[in-house]
């Protein structure tokens, strides 16, 4: 299924257009290589160009215009819709994926530039149907409501903990500071990160909530209504 997209070639007209403006016509459709100041720079487009991405360890190919972002390629061409498009200009973090293990805004990376890198998305950190411990902690601490920001936060948390398994509260704030949630689920996230790092006594969070997700004790109050 991921490879289906490659069937469509560049049309003859676009091919001619490309040739007319390129320095040397490439043998296969792909970037033209320009030499600028002794450096070789690949130039793509203006029509569709075949691209290959390595996502969650798997190869995906498609013919895309050079203007297509990594986010849109993932979502529209490969049906990996976990990363969300919210602002489309590197402000909100809903599109967070990992590029060679570092979190990036997929809306601010061109698909052509992500070639040859290892991309991981929220779909890739589960093994089969088993959630990654970060994902499990998000569920157990109810760190999602509408859930639209959640994949981005899961990836930001995953990246943070991967590089720093024991972050200080300031480091957590920085690590998750590139993402926004409208429903206000940050408190659950604090519990989730606390659970992951073994800091059970997260500020203001009742012990029981961090530890279990099947808690049955209920605070009760006497009082009239």
């Amino acid at each position: 299924m991921p490879d289906d997209e490659s069937k469509q070639g560049v049309s003859r007209r676009e091919f001619l257009k490309i040739s007319a403006i390129t320095v040397s016509v490439p043998a296969v459709i792909g970037p033209t290589v320009l030499e600028v100041g002794g450096e070789e720079i690949p130039v793509y487009g203006p029509g569709k160009t075949p691209i290959t991405l390595t996502v969650n360890g798997r190869r995906y190919t498609a013919d895309l215009e050079p203007r297509v972002t990594l986010l849109d390629a993932l979502r529209d061409s490969f049906d990996l819709t976990g990363a969300k498009r919210v602002c489309d200009r590197a402000e909100c973090g809903a599109c967070t994926v990992l590029l060679d293990d570092r979190p990036v805004y997929a809306c601010a990376v061109l698909a052509i530039d992500a070639q040859g890198r290892n991309i991981s998305t929220v779909e890739g950190i589960t093994s089969g149907d088993a959630l990654h411990p970060v994902q499990h902690a998000f569920v157990a601490n109810d760190a999602q409501q509408c859930g639209f920001c959640t994949p981005g936060f899961v990836m930001a948390s995953y990246a943070l903990l991967k590089h720093n398994p024991n972050p200080s509260p300031e480091q957590v704030a920085k690590g998750l500071g590139g993402n926004y949630c409208r429903c206000g689920t940050y408190y659950g996230m604090r519990g989730a990160i606390g659970q992951m790092t073994g800091q059970r006594s997260t500020v203001g969070l009742p012990q029981s909530e961090v530890l279990t997700d099947r808690e049955t004790d209920r605070p009760t109050d006497q009082g009239g209504a």
């Binding site: 200009r89 109810d142 409501q145 949630c181 099947r214 209504a225």
Partner: protein, 791 residues
């Protein structure tokens, strides 16, 4: 007929426990498919050309160049020559193309000429010279009077004096009666002179003065008075999943839609009416709408909206192919949701002991091109004996208002609770005591008292409170503030079907939706509780108009509805099952109960059969029961209305930079019987965070010159982030006195108080009121300067 009630505390196994939401795993793994994520075969990308002017008339539209672009499949003019546009970003042309890039190229090729008209976007400046309205009342004015509880004799005389500009239809009379409007008012309306509406040029509409008691006298004889200016600007909803839709025609007569909505079952009617109105006749029963997940709504996603119709029109033109239109971030912030503003000068009169005797308010605000209503002030303290209120509604080109979580309440809370806090400061009293003192002026004094005392305990208010103005040295000033709030929240009318299959599986179907509030999970908990089964034994199917009709998720009406519906359906289905198995166990059906996966004889050890075995006696089709929550004219049984809450904020203000930081917030909240404690608490945590967001950061900033929003993006329309979140303490009031009231909604109420509580805490810290939200550094510094130096 069965008697429907909730099990008492000793007999609950699931209700009231903390359960993780059932759709948590699909959400955290990115597998949850929202409207935005759907990618059906042959999908066309829809895009909309929007008006760049805040007020203009369309002169000409030329789409010919766009139509010629290869890959463009359909073009639809939405507002053609002659149409007047009242806000920037309004829809002019929609088109569909084979991909987004081509759609955007095509938008750029469209030529539209406008006659630019004067616009008005200033709602914060007090309109001083506005004259009182004397012309005939519009329907809106009448509704406004009802919602502000203007005394009925006053409504009747105003109606008679000014006349009306709308027909008093049978339907209207019926509606008024169902809301208990008095016969005298209805008579006055029916005999009122019919006049044609005045075409006023002024953007200001001043309501008649609304007087209770004798405010003049009360202010004259008051032992103390205080006055202040307060305000809440227009903010946006900023749903992370923008508004949008996918529409396609499987055949010429049928339309299928996936609207990102809070109102799955409301769509077919709305779309059918609108499409029929523009020459595409279709009946609602031929429209199927579906949605599994929605990325936020907060009140802004009830209507089908023009883009849903556009997608249907484009799909029709493109031979029925699916067309997806999702708003981009700019459009989402400019046109898809604005909370009305509210500003007011408020004066209070009181006795020396803090008892409030009179209220006087001059308020104004905008809800966009249609003006808007006065928020319900004085909020909660409705029984203040002497009152004078007058409101100026301002028509602006800011974009249309939409309901925003607890419509009008957060504004009313700021105008009221901040005024009371200022009165306390004036009297040199602790506002906690002044609030307690005046609770008899509220409808639920004993509940508020219990909640305030609990909040005090959790915040250590009494121990930590200091008089206004933190006297400690250094630039960081600390302060405490509080507020209380209310909401209705009775379950709406709706239904669901429950089937127990002969193999023991249980399936529930309802046209409701889960906004992230945990609706699915709550339904499964109620059914599991009723049938004595674990959560994972229940399949809950929602979000499809092919299922029984359920209401929209607004006004915190969902939990009361879905829990009542599923409880009824499960009770009826179980009773049928018990009747089938009773002979086997040799007792009457009413001697049986379903518990721990068995059907067993009550009060005896051992006599039971497994759930599976029992269900196998059901015959080939199993049993299906229909659960219907009755309409609001009937007395409620499983659900109820009316909740309260108290919140306290602890803030630090840096008087050198003006930056406010919230250190801690406490929310104490009642909402009747709680189904899922975990998601209920999440509603409160989320509301506190959303409250911090609008108290400190959010404002739809309009450019007076261009009439456009200056911050239609997420960099400058700032939401609270992870690092802004303080210690949060949530306490739900449960147990005797609360549980037996039934299930009541919770989405709205906890978001009401944070603005007022934080504003009061800032005033307590720095010694002076920052009049308007959001409390940004520049506003803090301006207030300090006016006061004459640092706190």
């Amino acid at each position: 007929m069965a008697d429907y009630k909730w099990p008492d505390a000793q007999h609950r196994t699931l209700i009231g426990t903390r359960q993780s939401r059932l759709d948590g795993p699909v959400k955290v793994s990115g597998r949850a498919k929202y409207t935005y994520d759907q990618n059906p075969k042959g999908l066309l990308a829809g895009a909309i050309l929007r008006c760049p002017h805040a007020h203009a008339k369309v002169v000409s539209v030329d789409t010919s160049a766009a139509e010629k672009i290869p890959g463009v499949k359909a073009v639809q003019v939405l507002q053609g020559p002659g149409k007047e546009v009242h806000w920037a970003g309004d829809e002019i042309v929609a088109l569909a193309a084979i991909n987004e890039g081509i759609a955007e190229d095509a938008l750029r090729a469209i030529k539209v000429q406008y006659e630019v008209l004067p616009h008005f976007v200033d709602d914060a400046t007090e309109p001083k010279s506005a004259a009182e309205e004397t012309g005939p009342l519009a329907l809106d004015d009448l509704i406004n009077m009802f919602s502000n509880q203007v005394p009925e004799p006053q409504i009747s005389s105003t109606v008679q004096k000014r006349g009306i500009s709308f027909p008093v239809t049978d339907d209207l009379v019926k509606r008024m009666r169902s809301f208990n409007v008095g016969e005298n008012v209805i008579k006055a309306l029916q005999s009122a002179p019919q006049k044609s509406p005045e075409s006023t040029r002024s953007p200001f509409k001043k309501s008649a003065v609304n007087v209770t008691g004798d405010p003049d006298q009360a202010f004259k004889t008051a032992e103390a008075t205080s006055e202040g200016l307060y305000g809440v600007p227009v903010i946006t909803h900023c749903c992370l999943e923008a508004h949008g839709v996918i529409a396609h025609w499987p055949d010429a007569e049928h339309l299928e839609t996936q609207v990102s909505t809070q109102n799955v079952c409301g769509m077919p009617d709305q779309i059918a009416q609108a499409l029929t109105g523009i020459g595409i006749p279709i009946s609602a029963s031929n429209i199927r709408n579906r949605q599994q997940h929605v990325g936020g709504g907060f009140g802004s996603k009830f209507a089908a909206d023009r883009w849903s119709l556009a997608a249907a029109q484009l799909s029709k033109k493109a031979g029925g192919a699916p067309v997806k239109i999702m708003l981009d971030r700019r459009a989402e912030l400019e046109v898809a949701g604005a909370r009305p503003s509210a500003y007011a000068h408020v004066k209070l009169a009181a006795k020396k002991d803090g008892a409030i005797t009179a209220w006087d308010s001059q308020s104004w605000g905008t809800g966009g091109p249609l003006g808007g209503n006065m928020p319900p002030i004085p909020y909660i303290f409705t029984e203040i004996p002497h009152q004078r209120k007058q409101h100026i509604s301002i028509a602006t080109n800011i974009g249309p208002a939409r309901a925003w979580r607890a419509p009008n309440h957060p504004q009313a809370a700021v105008l009221t609770m901040c005024a009371i806090d200022d009165l306390a400061a004036r009297l040199g009293m602790d506002p906690f005591d002044v609030f307690l003192k005046n609770l008899p002026l509220t409808p639920r004094a004993n509940v508020y008292e219990a909640e305030l005392r609990k909040a005090d305990e959790l915040m250590q208010w009494k121990k930590r409170w200091h008089p206004r103005g933190d006297e400690s040295s250094g630039p960081m000033k600390r302060g405490l503030g509080l507020s209380i709030h209310t909401w209705g929240g009775r379950g709406h009318q709706g239904a669901g079907d429950l089937t127990i299959h002969p193999d023991g599986t249980v399936e529930y179907r309802s046209g409701t939706q889960d906004l992230g509030t945990g609706t699915r999970t709550a339904i499964a908990m109620v059914i599991g509780e009723t049938l004595g089964l674990p959560l994972n034994a229940i399949t809950v199917k929602i979000g499809d108009t092919n299922f029984p009709h359920d209401g929209g998720s607004g006004g915190s009406t969902t939990i009361g509805a879905v829990s009542a519906e599923s409880r009824r359906a499960a009770t009826d289905a179980l009773n049928e099952l018990l009747a089938k198995v009773a002979p086997t166990l040799g007792v009457a059906p009413d001697q049986l109960e379903a518990l721990y996966g068995t059907i067993r004889v009550k009060d005896t050890q051992g006599k039971s059969i497994t759930w599976k075995k029992a269900c196998s006696m059901l015959g080939a089709t199993g049993v299906t029961a229909h659960g219907q929550n009755p309409d609001p004219s009937k007395p409620p049984d499983l659900t109820n209305s009316g909740v309260g809450g108290a919140q306290m904020a602890d803030v630090s203000v840096d008087v050198e930079t003006g930056i406010v930081r919230v250190n801690k917030m406490v929310a104490v909240q009642d909402c009747g019987l709680i189904i899922n404690l975990k998601t209920a608490e999440s509603q409160c945590y989320g509301a506190l965070i959303m409250g911090i967001s609008y108290a400190l950061f959010e404002e739809k900033i309009m450019d007076p010159t261009t009439g456009r929003m200056l911050n239609p993006n997420m960099q400058f329309y700032r939401l609270a982030g992870y690092g802004d979140i303080p210690e949060l303490v949530v306490h739900m009031m449960t147990g005797p006195g609360y549980d037996e009231r039934g299930v009541i909604g919770l989405g709205e109420p906890p978001v009401v108080s944070p603005g007022a509580a934080i504003s009061n805490a800032v005033a307590n810290a720095i010694g002076v009121r920052v009049p308007f939200l959001p409390i940004t550094p520049d506003r803090v510094l301006a207030a300090l300067e006016k006061k004459g130096g640092a706190a």
